[in-house]
């Protein structure tokens, strides 16, 4: 009897969370899927999906989005892994970690505007280039500046999980590998990296998925020279008012994200088995 009561109380505690999930996660996704089956005139149709998969514009845009998300993730990973490793070696890792997390406390839009100031014709970056004799260059509205700023914004989300997995790593593995005559590179590639792979995977998920649907940065920093699916969704909802097509792109993005989650998680099982 008592146990039953405790059970019912714990389900009662669960209600707010369930309501939250149902109201703000499941219901919106269902609405999105529902909307995607309506044409611009409000008729039920599969035409939105047909248009999406038969139009070279949308397919190109999808490729573009995936390609840029990949580049951003790669850049973030290349910077974050060494950072997380060095962080673990420092005396006060928590302090350094705080400094890395700090930029996430600042609004994304403010950071974007700060970069506009830095990269503009008369900005600090160009002043420096002129100072060392290279002369001002067009930095804003280039692919480089877009990937740079996007990577800057995503770095904390990559550093954190990698740092966690490195700090949890038992150092005796590394020592053993050195004792047994492995070079530094072998220690890294055969021992350290495989053992910290779960952190890397979590970092990739945390960075790649939001990067797929970036839209504000594409305009502010990329000057709409980089077009991603996020841009198209914004346009369909705000200008064309073609909510059906906008929802369709949203659904495709969700499916793409599920596939990525599935791929990265599937890999985990395989390597675990491989390690055994």
């Amino acid at each position: 009897m008592q146990q039953k009561q405790r059970l019912s109380r714990s389900t009662a505690y669960f209600i707010p969370y369930m309501l939250w999930i149902v109201l703000f996660v499941i219901a919106p996704v269902l609405l999105l899927i529902y909307q995607s089956f309506f044409s611009i005139n409000g008729q039920f149709t599969f035409a939105n999906y047909q248009t999406y998969f038969s139009s070279s514009t949308y397919l190109m845009m999808t490729l573009n989005s995936v390609w840029y998300a990949f580049l951003i993730t790669l850049a973030t990973l290349l910077i974050s892994y060494p950072t997380a490793y060095l962080l673990n070696e420092t005396k006060h890792p928590q302090l350094w970690l705080l400094l890395i997390i700090m930029p996430t406390w600042i609004n994304l839009l403010l950071k974007a505007y700060a970069f506009i100031g830095i990269f503009s014709q008369a900005g600090i970056a160009n002043q420096f280039l002129s100072f060392i004799g290279i002369g001002p260059k067009q930095i804003l509205f280039t692919n480089f500046s877009f990937i740079f700023v996007a990577a800057y914004i995503q770095i904390p989300f990559m550093v954190l999980p990698i740092y966690n997995s490195i700090s949890e790593l038992n150092t005796s593995y590394v020592n053993a590998s050195r004792d047994l005559g492995a070079t530094n590179w072998q220690t890294f590639s055969r021992v350290l990296f495989p053992l910290t792979l779960p952190g890397v995977r979590a970092g990739i998920q945390a960075v790649f998925i939001p990067s797929l649907s970036l839209f504000m940065l594409t305009r502010l920093i990329g000057g709409n020279k980089v077009i991603t699916l996020g841009t198209a969704i914004e346009e369909h909802f705000l200008t064309t008012m073609n909510w059906g097509m906008g929802s369709t792109i949203g659904v495709v993005l969700i499916i793409a994200m599920v596939i990525i989650m599935w791929l990265t998680n599937g890999g985990k099982r395989r390597t675990r088995r491989g390690l055994k």
Binding site: Q5, L7, S8, T11, A12, I15, P16, L19, I40, N41, T57, M60, M61, N64, I116, S120, Q121, A122, Q138, L140, F141, R219, L220, G223, N224, K225, I227, T231, A232, E235, H236, L238, T239, T240, M241, N242, M245
Partner: protein, 356 residues
């Protein structure tokens, strides 16, 4: 049983809270008191000192709420739950709201000062006989250039933008209708064409422009042009007037072969409640002195002929913002196109943006 009860109780509490929250949200957008007027307008689109003056003269307090696009305003009014008394949509949006039965006709017997308005800006296609709207500001779409990088007078027509010397120097406003519009104007086509082949030709012409395009941006264009970031930009006259006020190297040109002519007019949405205040405000804004003060503050062109006469000569005779009749003759107002046609414009525009 107890479990079921607690679940139901929890659900009821949450539903109650949500209903209360919704109620709260609805009443907060637009106050419902007696001596008020709820004005729903673009950001920074009225001289605040006029609002104080209006309150002093009539006793009505004006609550101002702002929107940043016609579409956002449309959605909010259509959804209801607001009590806006007056709003300021652009021409095509007035047509659209009219079709959707979201506007109340004006009671002409209560309006004074309608004769102050320039007859060229009355009785237009989007609102015949001004049944629903009173002109507020008007303007054009044109080219802004910086005389540090461009010889003054060397840009007069849309086709000048395609010259190779402007490689990577032009900024465009991120708006499908306007970018497609100036491409159509450069080909001497109607800005309201719905012919797929013509729109395709316009896109092909825009693709040829893309080496010259430095960026396609929105409001930030103003900041960039003021900071001398780009040599040339395509933007609306209202934005241009703000840029010119902050950077004396900038100039604005309306190509004489044709461009867009836009209006922002005051209308009464269906959500209106305070009719006495509404007509007091409309009459107040029609008074030449007030309209002139507002035009000087905002920097847009006033459709009020009597008010224009009160403006300083430098503003009144400025061809950049009050173009001559010959140019005005070639300007076109956007019509409200069917969703499918708007989609056509948007698809071609998206394709142009993808092309680089």
């Amino acid at each position: 049983m107890k479990k079921l009860f607690s679940i139901i109780l929890g659900l009821l509490v949450v539903c109650g809270l949500l209903a209360f929250g919704a109620q709260k949200l609805q009443t907060s957008s637009g106050s419902t008191g007696k001596k008020v007027l709820n004005l729903y307008t673009w950001g920074d689109y009225i001289d605040p000192s006029l609002l104080t003056k209006f309150q002093k003269e009539t006793g009505y307090h004006v609550n101002v709420e702002t929107f940043d696009s016609n579409e956002a305003m449309y959605t909010k009014i259509k959804q209801g739950g607001t009590s806006y008394d007056l709003t300021v949509p652009s021409d095509y949006m007035i047509e659209k709201m009219k079709k959707a039965n979201l506007l109340l006709p004006l009671d002409k017997s209560k309006l004074t000062g309608m004769s102050n308005y320039d007859s060229r800006f009355m009785n237009l296609d989007f609102d015949r006989h001004n049944r629903y709207s009173v002109p507020y500001f008007w303007g054009t779409l044109g080219i802004i250039y910086n005389d540090k990088y461009v010889k003054p007078g060397s840009i007069n027509h849309w086709n000048d933008l395609w010259q190779t010397k402007y490689r990577n120097k032009i900024m465009l406003i991120d708006s499908a209708r306007d970018v497609m519009g100036f491409a159509l104007a450069s080909m001497n086509q109607s800005l309201n064409t719905t012919d797929p082949a013509t729109l395709l030709a316009a896109r092909n012409k825009l693709n040829k422009l893309s080496p010259n395009v430095k960026a396609v941006v929105a409001d930030e264009i103003k900041m960039y042009m003021i900071q001398n970031e780009a040599a040339v930009a395509v933007d609306w006259s209202g934005e241009a007037s703000e840029m010119l006020a902050s950077n004396s190297h900038l100039h604005y040109v309306v190509p004489s072969e044709g461009s867009n002519l836009w209006f922002d007019n005051l209308v009464i949405p269906k959500t209106a409640k305070h009719f006495k205040a509404i007509y007091a405000f409309l009459n107040f804004m029609s008074e030449p002195k007030n309209a002139a003060q507002n035009a000087e503050y905002i920097g847009y062109a006033t459709p009020n002929k009597a008010a224009k006469a009160l403006l300083p000569k430098a503003i009144r005779t400025d061809k950049q913002f009050y173009p001559d009749d010959n140019t005005i003759k070639h300007l076109q107002i956007y019509q409200d196109l069917s969703p499918a046609k708007v989609g056509l414009y948007n698809d071609r525009y998206l394709e142009f943006k993808m092309h680089h």
